[in-house]
C-alpha cells in the first residue's frame, strides 16, 4: 500500500495505539482490559505500521525478531509465578502486592507482572505468525 496519508498517520497512530495498549494492560485488574487484549492491540498497531510502511521498516523499528518476545514474556510470567516461592516461601502463584498503589500505574503486584508476561507473549505470537505469513506473500 503506497498512501502518503496512511504512512504519515501510522507514525502517530503507532505511538498512540501502543500507549493505548499499555493503558488497557494496566487497567485490566479493575476495568475491562488486561494483558491479552493489550497485547492484541499492540500487535495490531505494528501490523498497521507494516501495512503502511512495508514489513522491512517495521522490522527495523522493532530491531529484534518478534519471536524473542515469546521467551521474554513467558519468563516474566513464570518469574512472577514463582516469586512467592522464592521470596516468601508461599505456594506457586500466590499473589504478592505492594502496600500502596503507585501513581498512574495503580496497585503493583505479581499479578500485574504476570499480565505483562501475557502481554508480551501475545505480541510475540501474533506478530511472529503474521510477519512470517506476510513474508511469503
Amino acid at each position: 500500500m503506497n498512501s502518503i496519508i496512511l504512512k504519515t498517520t501510522t507514525n502517530f497512530l503507532l505511538a498512540l495505539l501502543l500507549l493505548f495498549s499499555v493503558f488497557v494492560l494496566l487497567r485490566g485488574h479493575y476495568y475491562p482490559g488486561g494483558g491479552f487484549v493489550g497485547g492484541l492491540i499492540a500487535a495490531i498497531a505494528f501490523v498497521l505500521h507494516s501495512f503502511a510502511n512495508g514489513l522491512p521498516s517495521t522490522r527495523k523499528l522493532l530491531r529484534i525478531h518478534p519471536g524473542f518476545f515469546l521467551p521474554f514474556g513467558f519468563s516474566v510470567g513464570l518469574l512472577s509465578a514463582i516469586a512467592p516461592m522464592i521470596f516468601k516461601d508461599l505456594p506457586f502463584m500466590t499473589g504478592l502486592w505492594m502496600e500502596d498503589p503507585l501513581p498512574v500505574i495503580g496497585m503493583v503486584g505479581t499479578a500485574l507482572f504476570f499480565d505483562i508476561g501475557v502481554f508480551f507473549v501475545v505480541i510475540g505470537a501474533s506478530l511472529t505468525i503474521i510477519f512470517t505469513v506476510s513474508e511469503t506473500a
Binding site: 485490566g28 488486561g34 513467558f74 510470567g77 499479578a111 511472529t128 503474521i130 505469513v133
Partner: protein
C-alpha cells in the same frame, strides 16, 4: 540419594548441551563422579550391615501421593555399589576405548544420565518415581544403543530395544497405579508391610503386570531378542547396561516384590517356567554363535534366566544364591565384555572361529580373561564357585522337583561354561592366524578396568566373608528367612560333587564342540519361529497400518481435518445431549425481541449466508469479518466488555491473517460438487443444533449448578486478589496456572507456524 541421582542428571545435562571439547587427559575427570558416588554409597555400608534401612523422603506431588522417597537397604545398596563401581570402571574404560571419538562428550552424557536413572531406580521407594526412573533407563539405553547413529543396524536395534522395554514400562505403570489403588499408597515399604490381603483376581493381575515389566527389561523369553540386538552398541555400553546393571533392573523389581508375592503359588510357577526355559534356551543358543559379543549376550540372557529361576524356587537358599549370582555374574561378565572390546579394538574382529593365539600379543589380557572364564566356570576360590554352589543348594532344597531343577541347572551351567571359555580362553590360545600377526600391542593402561573386576571376583571368592554381610542383608530384605552361610568348603558333599561334575562336563564340551559355519546355517533355519522374527513381522505390519491410518486421517487437506474434528465432536456431544433430551427444550425461555437484538440477528444470519454463498474468497472473508464484529456487538449488549474488546481485536487480526494467506492460495481449483455440499450442510446443521443445545444447558443448568462459583469469584476477587475486574482476576490469579500454560501453547503455535512456513520457503529456494 536423590542428590546422587540429581547430580548425575545435572552433569549429564551440562555435558549433553555444551559438549565442549575437553583435552584428552582431562576426560579422566569424568570418572570422579561415579567414583565419588561409589564412595558416598559405600559410606552407608556400616549402617546397612547392621540391618538398618536409610529412608529419605521429600514431598513432590503430595495431592497424588507421589513423594520422592528413597530407601537404602541391603538389596538397594548391593545394586548401588554395582552401578557406581562398575560405572567408574566403565568410565575409565570408555576413556581409552573410545579415544578419538568426536562425540565422546555426548557419550559420557548418556552414560551419566543412565547412571543417575539407575541410581534412582534401585533406591526409589515410591512406585511412581520408580516408574519414571525405569523409563529413563530405557531412554538412555536407547541413546546408547543407537550411539553409532550413522549405522542403520544400530538405529534399528535401538528402536527395537526401546519398543520392547517401553512396552514393559507400560505394564509397570499399570502395576504401580493398580497397586496404588489397592494398597492406598505408592510407597513400596508400606505395600510390603501392609496387612491387607489381595482377593480374587487381584494377585494374579498384579503378578502378571510386574512380570511383563521385569521380563522385558531383563530379557526373558519371549522378550529376550532385543538384548542380542543391543550388542550393536559400543562395548562400554554392553558392559555397563546390557550385562552388569540395566538388564538386572527387572531382576531387582522381582526381588523387591518377592516378599509380597512369594505367598502365591502362581508367582513361583510362572517364574520357574519362564526363567527355566530362558536359561536353557539362551544357553543352547550360545553354542551356535561365533561372534564373541553374541555369545556373551546369550549367556547374559541365560544368566538372567537362572536368577529368575532361582527367585521362582524361592526360600532362603535360592534367594541368597540369586543375589550372590547377581554379584558374581556382574564381575566376570563385565570383565569378559571389556576383554571382548579390547580384542575387537585391536584385531578388528570378534569372530571366535577366526581368532586365536592372541595370548602372545596381549599376555596381560590373556590372564584376566582366563580369570573371568574360570570364575564363570565355577572353579574353587572364584566368586563363581560360591554362586554355583549356592545355586545347587537352592535347587536341591526344592520340596518336590529338586532332581528336575538340579538337572536343568547343571545343563545350563555346562553350556555356560562353554560360553565362558569360548570367549575368555579360545581367542588367546592356539596358533596365531596370519592376518592377525600385524595386531598392534596394547596401550598399557587399557587392561586395568577388566583386571579390577576379575581380581574382585577372585578376592570375594577366596575371602567370602567380605561379601557375606551384604549378601545376608540383601537376602533378608528380599524375603529370605535365614542367613545362608557363605563358605568355600562345605565338605565333600553332593553339592561339591555336582560342581565338579559341571566343571568337567563343561570342559569336555569346550574341547569337543567346535563352532563352524555349517552349524550356524543349521540353526538359522529355526529363526523363522523365533520371537524376534514374529516381533519384527508385527513391527512391519504395525508400520503399514500406521502409514495407512495416517493417509486416511492426515491426508493434508484442511477441509478434511475440519470435517473429522466436527464429526468427532458431534458424536461426543450427542452422546451427552441425548442422555436427557427433554431437559433442553423445557429450558428455553422466550422474551420479547428488542430492536437491537433483531438488527444483530439479521446481521449475523446475513453475513453468514453471504460468507457461505459468495463466489470469491475475499468476499467470504469480508462476510466472516462482519460476522465477528456482530458477535462483538452481542457481547457489548449483554455487558461483557472484556469479551467484546478481545473479540474485536482477535477478529481484526484474524481478517488480516486471512487476507495475507489468501495471497498464497491458488484460485479455486474446482468447486465442490453437490454431493459434497449436501454432506457438509448435513454435518454443519447437526453440529450447529448440538452446540445450541449445549449452550442452552450451559446457560440454564450450569448457571444453577455452579452458582456458587460466580458468587465465590464475586466475593473474593477484591479481597483475595485485589482486583475489581473478575474476568481478569480469574485469568491472572485464580486460574493463573491455566493462563501460564496457555501462553506456552500460544508460543508453540507461533513457533510452529514460523517453522512450517520458513521450511517451505527454504525448500522453494
Amino acid at each position: 540419594m536423590i542428590f546422587a541421582s540429581l547430580i548425575s542428571f545435572f552433569v549429564a545435562m551440562i555435558l549433553g548441551f555444551f559438549q565442549w571439547e575437553l583435552k584428552r587427559k582431562w576426560t579422566a575427570f569424568y570418572v570422579l563422579l561415579p567414583l565419588g558416588l561409589f564412595a558416598f554409597f559405600a559410606s552407608y555400608l556400616p549402617e546397612v550391615l547392621q540391618g538398618e534401612q536409610v529412608l529419605q523422603s521429600f514431598s513432590w506431588v503430595p495431592s497424588f501421593g507421589v513423594h520422592l522417597s528413597f530407601l537404602v537397604d541391603g538389596l538397594s545398596l548391593l545394586f548401588l555399589l554395582l552401578i557406581t563401581g562398575i560405572g567408574a570402571l566403565v568410565f575409565v574404560y570408555t576413556n581409552i576405548y573410545m579415544r578419538g571419538d568426536p562425540k565422546i562428550t555426548r557419550f559420557y552424557a548418556y552414560l551419566t544420565l543412565f547412571m543417575g536413572a539407575m541410581i534412582g531406580l534401585v533406591s526409589s521407594d515410591n512406585l511412581i518415581t520408580l516408574f519414571i526412573f525405569w523409563e529413563l533407563t530405557s531412554i538412555s539405553s536407547f541413546f546408547l544403543i543407537g550411539y553409532k547413529n550413522n549405522d542403520k543396524e544400530s538405529r534399528r536395534a535401538a528402536i527395537i530395544s526401546i519398543a520392547v522395554t517401553g512396552f514393559g514400562g507400560l505394564f509397570l505403570l499399570a502395576f504401580s497405579i493398580y497397586s496404588g489403588v489397592i494398597y492406598g499408597s505408592y510407597s513400596i515399604q508400606e505395600m510390603l508391610t501392609s496387612t491387607s490381603v489381595l482377593e480374587g483376581w487381584q494377585p494374579l493381575i498384579l503378578i502378571g503386570l510386574v512380570l511383563v515389566a521385569a521380563f522385558t527389561k531383563s530379557a526373558q523369553f519371549p522378550f529376550h531378542f532385543w538384548l542380542p540386538g543391543a550388542m550393536k552398541a559400543p562395548t562400554p555400553v554392553s558392559t555397563y547396561l546390557h550385562s552388569a546393571t540395566m538388564v538386572k533392573a527387572g531382576i531387582y523389581l522381582l526381588l523387591r516384590f518377592n516378599p509380597l508375592f512369594s505367598q502365591y503359588s502362581d508367582w513361583h510357577t510362572i517364574l520357574l517356567i519362564f526363567g527355566g526355559f530362558t536359561m536353557l534356551y539362551a544357553a543352547v543358543q550360545t553354542l551356535f554363535q561365533s561372534d564373541m559379543k553374541s555369545i556373551l549376550a546369550y549367556s547374559t540372557i541365560s544368566a538372567l534366566g537362572i536368577i529368575v529361576f532361582l527367585i521362582g524356587i524361592g526360600g532362603s537358599f535360592a534367594l541368597s544364591a540369586a543375589i550372590a549370582f547377581i554379584f558374581a555374574h556382574a564381575m566376570y561378565k563385565a570383565t569378559l565384555f571389556m576383554i571382548t572390546g579390547i580384542v575387537d579394538h585391536q584385531t578388528g574382529t570378534r569372530d571366535i572361529t577366526k581368532l586365536g593365539g592372541l595370548g602372545k600379543i596381549m599376555p596381560s589380557i590373556r590372564y584376566i580373561a582366563l580369570a573371568a572364564a574360570l570364575s564363570n566356570a565355577g572353579v574353587p576360590f572364584f566368586m563363581g564357585f560360591l554362586a554355583k554352589d549356592m545355586i545347587y543348594e537352592g535347587t536341591l532344597n526344592h520340596q518336590s522337583l529338586a532332581v528336575v531343577f538340579t538337572i536343568l541347572a547343571i545343563t545350563t551351567n555346562v553350556l555356560l561354561i562353554y560360553a565362558g571359555f569360548a570367549v575368555g580362553l579360545k581367542p588367546f590360545v592356539g596358533n596365531l592366524p596370519e592376518d592377525l600377526k600385524q595386531t598392534t600391542r596394547l596401550k598399557s593402561s587399557v587392561w586395568w578396568p577388566p583386571a579390577i573386576t576379575a581380581f574382585l571376583g577372585l578376592v570375594f571368592g577366596a575371602v567370602p566373608f567380605l561379601f557375606a554381610g551384604l549378601l545376608a542383608n540383601a537376602s533378608l530384605s528380599v524375603g529370605a528367612e535365614a542367613i545362608v552361610p557363605l563358605k568355600i568348603w562345605h565338605g565333600f558333599n553332593l553339592v561339591f560333587l555336582l560342581s565338579l561334575c559341571t566343571l568337567a562336563l563343561g570342559l569336555i564340551l569346550y574341547f569337543v564342540w567346535k563352532m563352524n559355519s555349517t552349524k550356524s546355517i543349521f540353526v538359522e533355519r529355526f529363526y523363522r519361529f523365533a520371537p524376534k522374527s514374529i516381533a519384527s513381522a508385527l513391527f512391519t505390519k504395525f508400520m503399514i497400518l500406521a502409514s495407512r491410518w495416517t493417509k486416511l486421517a492426515q491426508n493434508g487437506f484442511l477441509r478434511n481435518y475440519v470435517l473429522v474434528i466436527v464429526i468427532a465432536l458431534t458424536i461426543a456431544l450427542s452422546a451427552h445431549v441425548f442422555r436427557r433430551p427433554s431437559l433442553y427444550l423445557s429450558n428455553i425461555i422466550f422474551t420479547p425481541l428488542s430492536f437491537n437484538e433483531l438488527t444483530l440477528s439479521i446481521m449475523l444470519v446475513g453475513s453468514t449466508l453471504f460468507a457461505v454463498f459468495s463466489k470469491s474468497r475475499l468476499a467470504a472473508i469480508a462476510g466472516l469479518a462482519v460476522l465477528g464484529y456482530a458477535v462483538c456487538f452481542v457481547f457489548v449488549f449483554y455487558s461483557a466488555p472484556d469479551l467484546a474488546l478481545t473479540q474485536f481485536s482477535i477478529d481484526t487480526l484474524t481478517v488480516i491473517l486471512f487476507v495475507l494467506i489468501l495471497y498464497n492460495l491458488p484460485p479455486y481449483l474446482r468447486l465442490s460438487n453437490n454431493r459434497v455440499r449436501y454432506r457438509d450442510i448435513g454435518v454443519a446443521s447437526v453440529f450447529g443444533v448440538l452446540i445450541t443445545l449445549v449452550t442452552l444447558e450451559a446457560i440454564v443448568e450450569s448457571a444453577q449448578r455452579n452458582a456458587h462459583l460466580a458468587s465465590y469469584f464475586n466475593e473474593n476477587a477484591k479481597t483475595l486478589a485485589k482486583g475489581k475486574n473478575i474476568v481478569n482476576v480469574i485469568l491472572v490469579d485464580f486460574r493463573g496456572a491455566d493462563t501460564l500454560i496457555e501462553t506456552v501453547v500460544l508460543a508453540i503455535s507461533a513457533i510452529g507456524v514460523f517453522g512450517l512456513v520458513k521450511l517451505r520457503m527454504k525448500e522453494k529456494e
